[in-house]
Assembly symmetry: C2
Homo-oligomer: 431 residues x 2
């Protein structure tokens, strides 16, 4: 594991040195050239990075994605949701472990380029996905996903598969966690929802579930379950709690908001996906926050939104929220930053999202020497509203230098691996 | 003027050579190594750029901005419109020619980095603004702006100032045009609107005007002008026509849409500004297009939206349009690209926005070798929805190579000039 000294970096407006050991931030102190010299002499092999003129920010926590779908981006543009799903499903029928491995590698490369150091994933084949994420240095929460389409045989197969995958995941390191995903109320049977929830609680695993993404989902659920909304239905089954990440939570009644708040559920706003698929605009940020929910931010998968850029997502989240609520002061910058960092860390129970001693060394190194930062505004305003992720010139993730001068190690090989998978998939889909 | 050969660039999926002379595209033909050799030997001093693996796209036309406000970005975040205006006006009271020159230089540098080769500007001091734009190589339409606040003395002073500025602008070259701006119906008196319109028509100048940006603007206009909306009122005064660029056109009645269509007005969607300032969501794209208006795209000034990135604006325009119309198929990619290129060119009567013989050489050179383009989707889908402007690695504007390897000439000096102006302005504002 690298020992790294970020020398003379600007943190909260102050010149700072950040010393990183064993994957964690071991000290943060006002810049001192002599102390830097001392440190690098005491610990030979310390990688000293001169960060003069650069700014440190915590890495982002992307709280809802389907990482390996990086290879499926843009395959159904300007389509209705139903046509889009047909496309995706036709192609996904051919997915295998190799596709998920390389898709997750590509996704991790993109997350590194765009400032994400930790991600919460819901997809297939978590074992190869974890291999890819760990190789790239990203913190990760990867799920076994229940999706039985109300088929009893599928349900029983998935319980077996889940337990076997969980067993294999027990060797995962500190920066990875195994999660139980319940795809949604419209794709998972009641016995499977109950089994998955009980299994998660018994084993201390977190839960990840799509909730109330579209109006149709809510109407169908009410019809199927005696007028209960997806939130009410999941709550009746005992699913909801502070260990649950609910993705989308877009079509909510007042009662839904109350429940999500009371259960301290982690609600993920996937704004780009919600807009692009025309799922809806009205994310109830203020209400959810007031009620007690922990509101986080996510990109969703590349097939819907079409990248994994949390900085872009932050801007869209803020400006669309101001527009639909008709209030330019809603979702202020600090809230936005919290949604993209500490709130996600809290949801996953991981020590990331802050640049403080003892936290995981998940740090963005930003170059503000461009037109985008040339303004009387605070750094954070320029970072979110004006700049793009290419201002992030280097990144430390879990104490490893995973990008320097906008280049990640083995970038060529990763792109080639992705291209090969894409070629295979295209051949399958055309046959 | 440079003679440039873009060798082996991908254009519409085909390997192509593009030869540029005298600022224009003089030939476009299928790639031929021998012909390239021949050309570069026949014309000594030809700059040959090997574009193998790169993709050509036309440069963007930003149809509504206030370029020099680049230096005012982010000065009023998360504020209501009224508070924001107070901030802006307090600072703008100190503007001078030097501020506009350096603000426009900074803006031009940012436009170059983000793919814009031509811009339609509404601001103060068009003479230094034009100097800055021409030095940077960008096509430009720069206005003298009427804003008399219903003060007769101001109106008369502005007519004198307008004529003098127009006289000075007669020496401008082919890539610049002098425009008459009428700030808005809520800031310009009726005599000034009529005078400015007649002056423009008499002299063959285009008109640029803010129209129906907020609901308040519409309600106030109806109150002041016997129930007429801004569109109806401007039409009654004879302002509207195909030589008019109407910025925002957001709060429109059916009758407004009909008028804008019938008069073939160029309507500019400034989506990021509309969202961020909570002006509104409901841009009537389909209706305006069907009615006969020419719909274009703009970024607005950096103080409201907070950058000049047309590629970012294209994505926000598309996804927010899909969301509020509840139709994922609206504003398809080709329409979006037209809004950002050829529609703007048509509005300004400039031969740009296409890569064809005889057109101005306004060309983006794009590097698709990244995760963002690694997908089965068409190039344009990845360009708009997945990538960011840093994929534009080089740019030819008006036949000049204005960026290579993401660096523009004299970048340091421009940033320093901007910083100096910003320092002066901050001192003024604090006193």
């Amino acid at each position: 594991m690298d020992r790294i000294l970020l020398k003379n970096i600007t943190l909260d407006g102050k010149y700072t040195d950040i010393f990183i050991e064993e994957g964690r931030i071991s000290s943060v102190y006002p810049h001192s050239a002599s102390r830097c010299k001392e440190l690098s002499e005491s610990y030979s092999g310390t990688k000293v990075i001169d960060c003069s003129g650069k700014v440190a920010m915590p890495g982002f926590v992307n709280m809802h994605t389907h990482a390996a779908m990086s290879l499926l981006r843009g395959i159904g543009e300007d389509m209705s949701l139903q046509k889009w799903l047909d496309h995706i499903w036709r192609v996904e029928a051919h997915l295998d472990e190799s596709f998920v491995y390389w898709g997750t590698k590509i996704a991790a490369l993109e997350m590194i380029k765009t400032g994400t150091t930790t991600f919460n994933d819901m997809y297939w084949f978590p074992l190869p996905a974890r291999e890819a994420a760990a190789e790239m240095g990203l913190g990760n929460a990867l799920s076994f996903t229940f999706l039985d389409n109300f088929d009893e045989k599928a349900f029983h197969e998935q319980t077996q598969d889940c337990m076997a995958t969980h067993e294999a995941a027990k060797s995962w390191g500190r920066r990875s966690q195994f999660v139980i995903a319940i795809h949604s109320v419209y794709t998972v049977s009641e016995p499977a929802i109950i089994w998955a929830t009980e299994y998660a609680r018994k084993n201390g695993l977190r839960i990840h579930v799509h909730v109330s993404e579209t109006e149709k989902e809510v109407l169908d659920c009410q019809k199927a379950h005696g007028g209960l909304s997806p939130v009410e239905y999941l709550d009746r089954l005992g699913v909801l709690g502070p260990d649950v990440t609910a993705a989308h939570t877009l079509w909510l009644s007042d009662r839904d908001v109350e429940i999500l708040g009371k259960r301290h559920v982690n609600c993920v706003h996937n704004v780009n996906s919600n807009l692009k698929l025309a799922s809806g605009l009205g994310f109830r940020y203020d209400d959810l926050k007031s009620a007690g929910a922990n509101v986080c931010l996510g990109t969703d998968g590349c097939a819907s939104s079409n990248n994994l850029d949390m900085l872009e997502t932050m801007k869209t989240a803020a400006i669309s929220q101001k527009a639909w609520t008709n209030d330019p002061s809603t979702l202020p910058l600090q809230d936005l930053l919290d949604m993209a960092t500490v709130n996600g860390a809290k949801a996953l129970g991981m020590k990331t999202g802050r640049i403080e001693e003892g936290f995981d060394a998940d740090i963005l190194i930003i170059d503000p020497d461009s037109t985008f930062f040339l303004s009387p505004a605070p750094f954070i305003a320029n970072f979110v509203y004006s700049a793009h992720s290419d201002c992030i010139t280097a990144m430390v993730a879990g104490g490893r230098l995973v990008m320097m001068d906008r280049r990640a190690p083995e970038e060529e090989e990763i792109l080639t691996g992705g291209k090969n998978e894409l070629r295979l998939l295209t051949e399958y889909s055309n046959n």
